[in-house]
C-alpha cells in the first residue's frame, strides 16, 4: 500500500464565533487508505472533515487557526482556490442530497460546472461513474428520470457517483449511512473498500463496527480534541488512552 501522506492537518483550531470546535488537531491522512473519524456527537467530526474541502468557508464568523495541506500545498493560503480544492476533494453528505434533476443531469452537473462540455465525454464519464458507484445496473434504463424517485440507498450511491464524476483525489464521507437501512449500508461499505484503491477516503461514522470494517486508520475525537489516532486494528484492540477505551467499549458517548 502506498503510504504517502495525501492530506495533513497541522495544529488546527477552529472557532464558530467564540465557541471553539477544534483544539489543536494534527492528523495525517494516508493516500489510498480509509481513515475513519469516530467520537461522540458534537465532538467536532463534521467540523474537521468540512475543513478538508473548505466547506466551512460558507459559515459566517467562523475562524481557523492552523494549516491544512493537500499534497503539501496549503489549502487555506491566499493563492489557493476553494473551488479547485473542492473538485479535488469531493464530499458525500449524511443525508443523500441529489438535485431535483434527472439521474443523468445529477452526475453531469459537476462536469458542466467545470466547463467540460464535450457530449460524448460527459456521457462516458456519467456511465463510468455510475458503474464505479455500483448503481449502473439499477438505473441504466432510467437515466432521464428524476433522481428523487430513487430509494434512499440508491440516492446515496448516486451522490457518490456525482462526486466521482469530477475525478476527485480525496473523498470525504460524513456519516454516509446514517439514514440508510443495513442492506444499503453494506453496499456502501463494500463500495468504499472498492474505491480506496483509486481514491483517498475519510469517513465520519458513529458506528464503530463500521469503522472497524472499512477503515485502515481511525481517529478518535472528544470535545474538539484528537485523543488518539492509529491503525484501526491497534486502536480497537489496544487503545492507548483510557478515554478511547471507554468510548469503544461503549462506556460513554
Amino acid at each position: 500500500m502506498d503510504e504517502a501522506i495525501k492530506m495533513k492537518a497541522e495544529n488546527v483550531n477552529f472557532f464558530y464565533g467564540k465557541t471553539q470546535a477544534l483544539k489543536d488537531v494534527s492528523l495525517d491522512i494516508h493516500a489510498h487508505s480509509v481513515t475513519a473519524i469516530i467520537g461522540p456527537s458534537g465532538c467536532g467530526k463534521s467540523t474537521f472533515i468540512r475543513l478538508l474541502n473548505r466547506m466551512n468557508d460558507l459559515i459566517p464568523h467562523a475562524q481557523l487557526i492552523g494549516r491544512v495541506y493537500l499534497d503539501c500545498q496549503d489549502v487555506f493560503s491566499h493563492a489557493a482556490d476553494p473551488v479547485e480544492l473542492r473538485r479535488r476533494v469531493g464530499m458525500v453528505f449524511q443525508k443523500p442530497n441529489p438535485f431535483p434533476k434527472s439521474i443523468f443531469e445529477n452526475i453531469a452537473y459537476g462536469l458542466h460546472v467545470n466547463n467540460i462540455k464535450d457530449k460524448d465525454f460527459v456521457e462516458t464519464r456519467v456511465i463510468e461513474s455510475l458503474k464505479k458507484a455500483a448503481l449502473w445496473e439499477e438505473v441504466r434504463h432510467r437515466l432521464h428520470e428524476s433522481a428523487l424517485k430513487l430509494s434512499g440507498g440508491q440516492q446515496q450511491r448516486l451522490c457518490i457517483a456525482r462526486c466521482l464524476a469530477v475525478s476527485p483525489e480525496v473523498i470525504l464521507f460524513d456519516e454516509p449511512c446514517a439514514s440508510l437501512d443495513p442492506i444499503s449500508t453494506a453496499k456502501i461499505e463494500e463500495l468504499i473498500l472498492e474505491l480506496k484503491k483509486e481514491y483517498t477516503i475519510v469517513i465520519v461514522t458513529h458506528n464503530m463496527q463500521q469503522a472497524a470494517r472499512v477503515a485502515d486508520y481511525t481517529a478518535f475525537f472528544l470535545l474538539g480534541e484528537l485523543i488518539e489516532f492509529n491503525k484501526t486494528q491497534e486502536l480497537f484492540t489496544a487503545p492507548k488512552d483510557k478515554r478511547t477505551e471507554a468510548y469503544i467499549t461503549g462506556r460513554f458517548g
Binding site: 466547506m55 473551488v83 473542492r86 453528505f93 438535485f99 452537473y109
Partner: protein, 293 residues
C-alpha cells in the same frame, strides 16, 4: 366543560366557513347583476367591441379598449416588478449581510402597507409631471406612468413570495453543488433558481393578479381615455378604473350598470384563474422539494 368546548368548536367553524359564504355571495351577485346585459348585447360584441360609449344614444358596450388597457398596464408593471422583486429576493437571500437584511426586509414590507391612494397621489403629483418633462410627452398621466407605479406596488408581493421560495431550497442542494466544485454564481443559476423556479413563477403570477386588480392607482394615474392603446404614452382606461369611475353615474339596473358588473365579473374570473394557476404551480414546487405531505 364538554359543552363549552363544543360551542367554541362551533363558533370557529362558522367563522372559518364565513369566507366561503362571502365568496359564494359575491359570485351570485356578480352573475345576477351582469347576466341580463347579454339579452341586449351579444357577448362577442361586448368582449371584442372596439368602442366603449356607455352614455351615448345608442350606447356602445365594447370593452376591448378597457381589456387592452389592463393588459398593457399589467405587462408594463411586470417589467418593473419582476426584475425589482426577484432581484431584491435574490439579493436578500444570497448576498445580503444579516444587517442589510434586517433593514431591507421591513422596508420592502412597508411598501406593501402604503395605501394605494397614496401611490396614486404620488403618481399624479410627482411622477406624471416629471415624466412629462423628462420624456417630452403630451400627457404624463398615461399607461407608462401607471405601469411604473403599479410595478412598484407589486414589488413586495413578488419579492416576499420569491424570497420564501428561495429560502425553501434546502441548504443541502447548495452544499452538494459547492462540493463538486461549482462557484457561487453557478450554484445560484443552475441549482437554486431552478429548484425555486415554480415558487418564483407563483410570485410572478400573484404579482400579475395584484397589478390587474389594482383600482385606485390606475384610476388616478392611467389617464382615463377609453380608446384602444397604441403606445405606452397614451392615456388609457383599464377595467378597474372604468368600473370605479362610472359606477356612481350609471343608473342602477340600467344597461351601463349591468355592463360595469360584467366587467367586474370578467376581472374576477381572470384573477381567480391566476390564483388557481399560482396555487397549482406552488403545489408542484412543494412536491418537487419534498415539502408537501
Amino acid at each position: 366543560m364538554y359543552i363549552k368546548e363544543k360551542i367554541y368548536r362551533w363558533i370557529f367553524t362558522v367563522l372559518a366557513f364565513s369566507s366561503f359564504v362571502f365568496l359564494v355571495g359575491i359570485i351570485i351577485v356578480l352573475f345576477r347583476e351582469s347576466l341580463p346585459l347579454f339579452q341586449k348585447v351579444r357577448l362577442f360584441d361586448f368582449l371584442l367591441g372596439r368602442f366603449w360609449y356607455p352614455t351615448y344614444d345608442p350606447p356602445e358596450f365594447g370593452i376591448l379598449p378597457l381589456i387592452l388597457a389592463s393588459v398593457w398596464v399589467t405587462c408594463g408593471a411586470l417589467c418593473v416588478c419582476v426584475p425589482l422583486g426577484i432581484g431584491s429576493a435574490l439579493f436578500l437571500n444570497e448576498l445580503a449581510t444579516p444587517g442589510q437584511r434586517a433593514v431591507l426586509k421591513p422596508l420592502i414590507e412597508i411598501l406593501a402597507s402604503i395605501p394605494s391612494i397614496v401611490y396614486g397621489f404620488f403618481g399624479m403629483v410627482v411622477l406624471a409631471p416629471f415624466l412629462q418633462q423628462l420624456l417630452h410627452i403630451p400627457v404624463g398621466l398615461c399607461a407608462f406612468s401607471a405601469s411604473l407605479i403599479l410595478g412598484i406596488m407589486a414589488v413586495p408581493t413578488v419579492c416576499s413570495i420569491a424570497e420564501d421560495a428561495l429560502s425553501y431550497v434546502p441548504r443541502s442542494f447548495r452544499e452538494a453543488s459547492f462540493a463538486v466544485g461549482a462557484n457561487r454564481w453557478q450554484t445560484l443559476t443552475k441549482v437554486v433558481i431552478p429548484a425555486a423556479g415554480s415558487g418564483i413563477s407563483t410570485a410572478i403570477i400573484l404579482g400579475i393578479s395584484r397589478a390587474i386588480g389594482e383600482t385606485m392607482t390606475v384610476l388616478m394615474v392611467a389617464g382615463g381615455a377609453a380608446v384602444i392603446p397604441t403606445s405606452f404614452f397614451m392615456p388609457v382606461r383599464p377595467m378597474t378604473a372604468a368600473i370605479a369611475a362610472e359606477m356612481g353615474e350609471a343608473p342602477m339596473g340600467g344597461l351601463h350598470y349591468r355592463a360595469l358588473f360584467s366587467i367586474a365579473l370578467i376581472l374576477f374570473l381572470i384573477t381567480f384563474l391566476f390564483n388557481i394557476i399560482a396555487e397549482l404551480v406552488s403545489r408542484r414546487f412543494r412536491l418537487k422539494l419534498g415539502l408537501a405531505q
